[in-house]
């Protein structure tokens, strides 16, 4: 199986997975920051609970879409805070999903504009 086919076999992503990957696109983030960012990116449509977030993170770690970032580990109240960052594969999957969504939108737009006209 080629890399492109392997990536396409993972699509479409669920909304929660898509927003988590999108949240990690600019750089490493810790769990709570991801939750807040997903809520803001989705305009409060997708509100992740802690359990849902960490189940998704575990699956993505296993699939090598993300990794725990060593550099971004910070300490708050004496406790270690771990951060997550996109891997090359994760970035490729996010890019492929964005392209897929763009394709959908570009297919829909002429029809929608014509109907509106």
């Amino acid at each position: 199986m080629s890399t492109d086919t392997a990536i396409e076999s993972q699509l479409p992503l669920t909304e929660a997975t898509f927003f988590i990957l999108l949240s990690l696109a600019p750089g490493p983030r810790h769990g709570y920051a991801i939750m807040k960012d997903v809520k803001s990116l989705s305009q409060e449509r997708v509100v992740l609970s802690t359990g849902t977030l960490y189940s998704a993170l575990k699956r993505m770690l296993e699939q090598d879409w993300i990794r725990r970032s060593n550099l971004a580990e910070k300490k708050t109240n004496g406790r270690v805070r771990k951060a997550y960052t996109l891997t090359g594969l994760g970035q490729a999957i996010l890019q492929a999903e964005v392209q897929r969504l763009e394709g959908l939108v570009s297919a829909a737009q002429p029809r929608m504009l014509r109907d509106a006209a």
Partner: protein, 372 residues
């Protein structure tokens, strides 16, 4: 509402996640929940209640999902384990596995003089040492999640426990007068043999069910789930446990005879050979043949020994103690040989049960896929 108390409750609920997930994420999740609760509380009490309810609503689904994932990972691990064939054991591990067959043989070999025999034909002085050795090996096996080499030990301990507790308890339930009647003199020989076939079959099928029950109980503990998945994947592992149970059963046959120690030693060596070929064989059918071959030859050796001992004692005492004719003596010998053969035949049948079950489920899958 107190945030600390809520965080403590949430962390307690996190213990419902599988162990691997907990070890990896529970600290982080507790920390994140604490932050969410703190943020919500700073807004309003209502926001806090809303956040807590949302978390509690999603938690069961998330726990079930994590548990399902953990089971899938275990199954995948078990599958990959069985793709590694033949089983690679170091010579120390091989020796440790075969010790359950070889050490009783060595004990029988060392005590050549016909002294007072204890249970299972071993010298009475050897019994505590043997018990300590078996318990130690089983405990080590349990601590290491019951690897392949521990399975015969599990079998031996199961059959001994069943013999000491379960069968004795069942025997106490049965009327003593019936037991006293259950002897060749009280019944005609064919009825006696038929009853022997039924009672031995009941005993071995009970032992088989007991083995399944123990495995089902072990499956409740996460640490033994790889073993249980392995057994579901490879039925010959169950037969290997039963192969260990055969050691004690065959030794019990020689308990009351002192003439057949060489035969008993040969029997144990055949069982060890079967186990050795089992551990070295890559395919399941070869493993099954190794166990069946070892057991069949072992049973043949014991049966020959017991028939030899019984024949000798019957012929020697025919004119005096038994006061029976030569023809009856021969009939007694046949009855004794039949009684002896019943046990290994039942062990062989029970040893094959997992294979039959596996074949039946495979057939049912084929029929289901064809829409029959």
């Amino acid at each position: 509402m107190n945030d600390n108390w809520l965080t403590w409750l949430y962390k307690a609920l996190l213990s419902l996640y599988p162990a691997g997930f907990r070890a990896e994420f529970s600290d982080e999740m507790g920390e994140v929940f604490s932050q969410i609760a703190e943020d919500a509380r700073s807004r309003s009490r209502f926001a806090l209640v809303e956040v807590v309810l949302a978390e509690l609503r999603d938690l069961p689904a998330s726990i079930l999902h994590a548990r399902r994932q953990a089971r899938r990972s275990l199954r995948a691990a078990a599958d990959s384990l069985h793709r590694m064939a033949p089983v690679e054991l170091s010579w120390q591990e091989l020796l440790a596995t075969l010790a359950v067959f070889l050490l009783p043989a060595a004990a029988l070999l060392l005590h050549r003089t016909p002294r007072e025999a204890g249970a299972a034909g071993l010298d009475a002085a050897d019994i505590p040492t043997a018990a300590l050795f078996l318990i130690a090996m089983l405990v080590v096996g349990l601590l290491r999640r019951l690897p392949l080499r521990s399975l015969p030990y599990l079998g031996v301990m199961l059959v001994i426990s069943a013999y000491l507790f379960l069968f004795q308890w069942v025997a106490d339930l049965v009327s003593p007068s019936l037991i006293s009647n259950f002897a060749p003199g009280a019944w005609d020989r064919s009825t006696y043999l038929l009853l022997k076939v039924i009672s031995t079959g009941m005993l071995w099928l009970t032992l088989f069910c007991l083995t399944l029950l123990v495995i089902a109980l072990l499956a409740l503990y996460n640490r033994f789930q790889p073993l249980c998945w392995s057994i579901r994947h490879d039925w010959s592992l169950l037969s290997f446990i039963l192969h260990g149970e055969a050691v004690f059963a065959l030794l019990l046959l020689v308990e009351h005879h002192r003439y057949e120690r060489p035969f008993a030693i040969a029997s144990l060596l055949w069982l060890a050979a079967g186990a050795w070929f089992y551990l070295r064989s890559p395919q399941r059918w070869k493993r099954a043949i190794a166990l069946l071959g070892g057991l069949a030859l072992g049973a043949w050796a014991v049966a020959s020994g017991v028939a030899f001992g019984a024949g000798e004692s019957l012929f020697l005492s025919s004119a005096t103690a038994l006061n029976i004719s030569g023809q009856s003596t021969l009939a007694e010998l046949w009855t004794e040989a039949g009684r002896i053969l019943v046990i290994p035949i039942w062990i062989l049948l029970v040893l094959l049960l997992p294979a039959w079950y596996s074949r039946l489920t495979a057939l049912s899958r084929v029929f289901r896929n064809r829409g029959v």
